[in-house]
Structure formats: structure tokens, C-alpha cells
Symmetry: C2
Subunit: 342 residues, 2 copies
DNA sequence: TTGAAAGCGCTAACAA
DNA sequence: TTGTTAGCGCTTTCAA
């Protein structure tokens, strides 16, 4: 009716049901309808009911963009992972997402593909959404991205690593300690000639360096190193073992930077009738859900990925709701899980 | 300065740099700054430069929530998966996300944990964000969720299955055809007594039924069925084979509803010195990246998961930008990949 | 090519 | 407990 009259310079919305529509139907002011939905206890039971009915009748779904703009609370948390298919990180994301959803938050997921340029773009896109928190896999290197992140004032939790200079909160573990522990573990078992099969990322490098340092501290021979790409497939593990056997045939223990690589090494060993762990020991990294039931069961480094996700969710939610988080730096540790391959 | 004067009843924003700040610094109206950023060619080069400089100087990051509210375009796409750790779906999500990001869209990820109630909640939360498109894993059952989805008017692409009654767009393949094809494949190889190890989801059930139908059409013995939970671990595959050997020892071929289950069956067979494929054939589902390099290499059903993600992104973006998508229903098919286990 | 005005749908602040 | 008013930060519409 009145549509025609105000046709001049009137912008129509999407036609979707708005809070005003609901309020009108319930015979209250929009703000009262808002309260009936968001803070029900502050509204009389009768009004609450009328609003509820109006919501049901109209099929109203609140527009969170508008709510977010008005309240400066997006109820959105962004997470950045190198890759989505790698299940090591996704275990964390799964528990993060679960915990967030239960608290009424949505997850935005971005993947960097291990590219710094992409990470930079991604961070800008994320900040543009004004999320209430940001989950990062790994540590942020100094640079434009980090500066923007700090400038945004958005709560950030870095994970999966340790650093003396976190952007904000931190939940991780020491990769150096892992390298050291695995080396010690293997040396204690009497292994003497080591090889490492490693993906090319910075954290794996730190495990590797500590491993080598521990080995040379005992006066043992240099560690033979095989680098694979960032994809870390079973196939690469197989190829790596072939190279090791060719270039360093005396190798009696291999430390792999992922369980899948370890599985590849084991597979290749089986193809060549090399017995594990008698002739060759293998240690993985990650403790993927299936490696405990493999044959032979994989000795590996266990990270409590689910715990990282849960804690991160808690930290982020606490901060989003104005509570302090203390301590804001947590070392969740790791454990070397002894099974059959070493 | 003037802050003090308007202190009464003035709501202050987050203190972040806004478009107005940039505009002021560039000496233009806000709308001109907006145009300089969003439609640069419609603005004079000189003004464009001034605005760019102001952006750099201030570190301005546009508030997409505000932009979205004003333009009714959120540049957000939501995706729903049953679980995040299962890499079958994540391969699709990865390519979906890549394609979306390149087009300036962000991905919101929700997981249902295979629960209908949760899916319902999730859908409501998603619609509240007014995404420009929704990616769904599987087919939406009639119900409140589906009704809301249709009512929202948001472009939807259902995937990973086929149905004569899609909500909107559809990219999938026939699970019945898969069951039938695998049965035919195995029977052609001379296998006669079949078992199925299946997760409890509706799509696996359809593969299973078609498999059984094809088998009984040839007058062969009933298919022995082992159901596992929704988690589908390697361990469950091992347990399943134990059960099969006990309850149906004459079984000569097993069709598993996931590659990981198949890996479990193979592992258990190895533990029991059952030779594959001589004594027992095994077929998986999914063609996970590592199964081709296993020993023995897994015969499985390949789904082009990456293609599904890419197409879905294209469909959703096209529709979000007002272009029609035709055809809106695509069968991407599947293939039975013959390797060593069958 | 630039700008003024209005409003997207909601909530914070204040008042009653 | 309820309502009024004024924005949140941006883009659409219309006018120059």
C-alpha cells in the first residue's frame, strides 16, 4: 500500500523477514523483540511468548551481519591452516569448531597452501570480516601480516609451536624438544645410524636440527637427510627409503616428519623384505588415528591435536567475551609413543 | 576535540579506521573513497591515488560486515560437511575453498557430526549469516531444515549424491550404480561369496543395497553384512574381517565403504596370513591419496572430489553474481580403479 | 566524475 | 519491563 507512496528514493531490502516485522506482529517495539530473543529473562513471559509465536509464524532468522555491525560482535572465529586435507591439523579444527559451535560461534576457514603471500592476503580478508578471534596454525613471522594482525586488536591464538614473542595467546609445543627426544629414544634403543625424511617446513626443520644435534653430541655419524616436498605423501616415503638405501645403506633408524611418510617407508621396506624394527626402525610424527592399528604398529610422536583445538576455542571465547586469559601461553607437550616399529 | 561536546548519547565504534576517516584524509566524500576502492575505473586517477595513499597511511581494512549489510552481498559461502577429519570430503572442501578465495569469497565451515539435529541448528546459524551460497555434502531430507533453506532463497548446491528433487543445484554421482558396478566387477573376476563392511550412513546403504541386488540377480549366495559405526577407522576394518571369518568363513571378496576400512581388512588379513587377492579380494571406496602406493595397492572406487569442489564453487559464484547455471544438475560419475587387491 | 541523503537490520544508550 | 532515538560502517539511489 504505502509502498507506492514512498517509492521515491526508497531502498528495499532483500524482502526477507526482519525483526521489525516480527515486532509488529507481536505488537511490541523492535528492541523488545530483540530482547525477547537475546535476553529472554529480561522480558515478561507473556511478551516472550508473543514474540516466539511471531518468529515461528514468519520463519524469521535474525540477520547476524546487521547484529554484528550494531554490536561490534561478529560471533565469527577465523582459522588459518596450511592445508585442509592434512588430518593432523583438521583434528584440531574439528574440536575447535565443535567447541565454538556449542558457544554460538561460527568458523571461517582459510588455507594458505604453505604460501606466505597467500597467508598475507588471507589475513587481510579475515580482518575485514571483523571476527571475534583468530586461530593460527604456527607462528606468525614478522611482516605486514603480523603488523596488521596486531593493529586489528582481534584476539589471536597461535598454535602448534612455541615462541618467546607470540602475537597474543599461544598453545603449542617444542619442536626442538621432539627432535631431541626422538634421537634420545632411538639411541637408547641402540640404534646408531640415522636418517631423516622431512617435509620442507620450518617446524620440521627445527625437529630435524635438534635431532642431529643430539646425535652428534653422542659422537655418532652424521644423520642422512632426505627432503620431500610439502605434500608428504606415502609415495614420497617410499621413494625416500629407496634413496636412503642407496646413499646411506648402513642406516638403521629413520625419523619421518609425518606418519604418512613413515607409512611409506614401512611399505617400501616390506616391498624389499627389510624387517622392521630388526633391520630398520621407523618413527613417525602426528599419531594419526590409524597408525596404532597398523601392522607393525607405528612408533610415533603424539600431539594432542584435539586438546589444542578445545583450549584454543576456550581462550578465544573468553577473550571475545572480555575475560582475561591467564596464562596465555601453554605448552601442551608431546609424547613419544612406543609401538612396534622402533 | 568535538568528541567531548557530543559525549551525550553517542555510541562510539570500535575505534578502527573507517571509510570516512580515509575519505577525510583524501579530501573526498566517503562514497568517492568507496568507489576508488571498489570500482576504481569510475574515479579519476588523481582521486584514486589520493585514496590509495590514505588507505596505506591509515592501514584501513574495509569492514565487510557493514558492506555486506548495505549491499546484501556477504561474499561468504557456507559449507556443511559431516566431519572435518575425513579426508574424502576435505579434498572437495580444499578445492572449493581455493576457487572461492580466488574470487574474493570466504568459506564458513560447519560440521554436523552425522547428526540431523545438529545439521538443523547449523543450517539456521548459516542462514543467519546471509551467505551468498551454501555448499552441502549430501542430499537434504525433507523437514524444517530444507524448508528454511528453500525459504531463504540462498543458492544451494547439494553434492556427493543424486536425487530427482534437489533443493537447487546438484553435483553428484549414483551410489546405486557404484554398488552395482563393484558387484559386477567382482563377479566378472570370478568371486562368488561376498561380504560388505559398511559405515552406517544412508549413502553407504544405497551402495550396499545395489550391490546385494546385483549379486542375488546372479543367483549367488546372500551377501554377508558387517556394520561399523560412523567413525570408520582402520581398527573397525580389522574387527570386521575377524567377524566375517567367524560368521562367513567362505567369503572370498569384501567391499568396504571407505578406504580406511579396506586398509583395516587388509591389515587383519596380513596378520592372519590370508593372501590378497588370492584368498580374499578387497575393494575400498574413495581412492584416498595414499592407497595407490600401498602394498598391495588398493582396488577402489574413485570419486573426483576436487572436481566437485571446483564445480560447486563455479556454480555458487555464478549464481551469487546473478548468472544462471545450466545445467544445474551434474553427474560427475565414478570409476572402479583396478589395482592389486581385487 | 563527484556528492548528498537515506537506509541495510540490528543493538547500545538513555529515558520512562 | 518497555520504548525512543541514534547510530554501527558501508552502499544504493538520485542529483548535479
Amino acid at each position: 500500500m504505502s509502498d507506492k507512496e514512498i517509492s521515491k528514493k526508497t531502498r528495499r531490502g532483500t524482502g526477507a523477514v526482519t525483526l521489525s516485522d516480527v515486532a509488529k506482529l507481536a505488537g511490541v517495539a523492535p528492541i523488545t523483540a530483540s530482547r525477547a530473543l537475546n535476553t529472554p529473562d529480561v522480558v515478561s513471559p507473556e511478551v516472550r511468548q508473543r514474540v516466539q509465536d511471531a518468529v515461528s509464524k514468519t520463519g524469521y532468522v535474525p540477520n547476524r551481519m546487521a547484529g554484528g555491525l550494531a554490536s561490534s560482535k561478529s560471533k565469527l572465529i577465523a582459522a588459518v591452516v596450511p592445508s585442509t586435507v592434512s588430518s593432523v591439523f583438521m583434528e584440531t579444527i574439528e574440536s575447535l569448531n565443535d567447541a565454538l559451535f556449542d558457544a554460538g560461534y561460527q568458523l571461517m576457514l582459510g588455507q594458505t597452501g604453505y604460501s606466505d603471500a597467500r597467508e598475507e592476503q588471507l589475513l587481510e580478508a579475515i580482518i575485514g570480516r571483523r571476527p571475534d578471534g583468530i586461530f593460527l596454525t604456527g607462528i606468525t613471522k614478522p611482516g605486514k601480516g603480523r603488523t596488521r594482525l596486531v593493529a586489528s586488536g582481534i584476539p589471536v591464538v597461535e598454535t602448534w609451536d612455541l615462541t618467546p614473542t607470540p602475537v597474543d595467546m599461544l598453545i603449542g609445543f617444542s619442536h626442538s624438544d621432539i627432535g631431541h627426544s626422538v634421537a634420545s629414544y632411538l639411541m637408547a634403543k641402540g640404534y646408531k645410524r640415522f636418517a631423516i625424511v622431512s617435509g620442507s617446513d620450518e617446524r620440521a626443520d627445527r625437529r630435524l636440527k635438534a635431532f642431529c644435534a643430539a646425535v652428534s653430541a653422542q659422537g655418532l655419524a652424521d644423520v642422512h637427510l632426505v627432503k620431500v616436498g610439502s605434500s608428504r605423501t606415502l609415495k614420497q616415503g617410499r621413494v625416500a627409503l629407496s634413496q636412503i638405501l642407496q646413499d646411506a645403506p648402513a642406516t638403521d633408524a629413520v625419523f619421518c616428519s609425518s606418519d604418512l611418510l613413515a607409512l611409506g617407508v614401512i611399505t617400501e621396506a616390506r616391498a624389499r623384505q627389510i624387517s622392521i624394527p630388526q633391520q630398520l626402525a621407523v618413527v613417525g610424527f602426528g599419531d594419526a588415528p590409524f597408525v596404532s592399528d597398523m601392522l607393525p604398529a607405528l612408533t610415533t610422536v603424539r600431539i594432542n591435536a584435539g586438546q589444542i583445538g578445545q583450549m584454543a576455542a576456550q581462550f578465544l571465547i573468553d577473550r571475545a567475551q572480555g575475560r582475561a586469559v591467564d596464562p596465555a601461553v601453554v605448552d601442551v607437550g608431546f609424547s613419544v609413543i612406543e609401538r612396534e616399529t622402533a
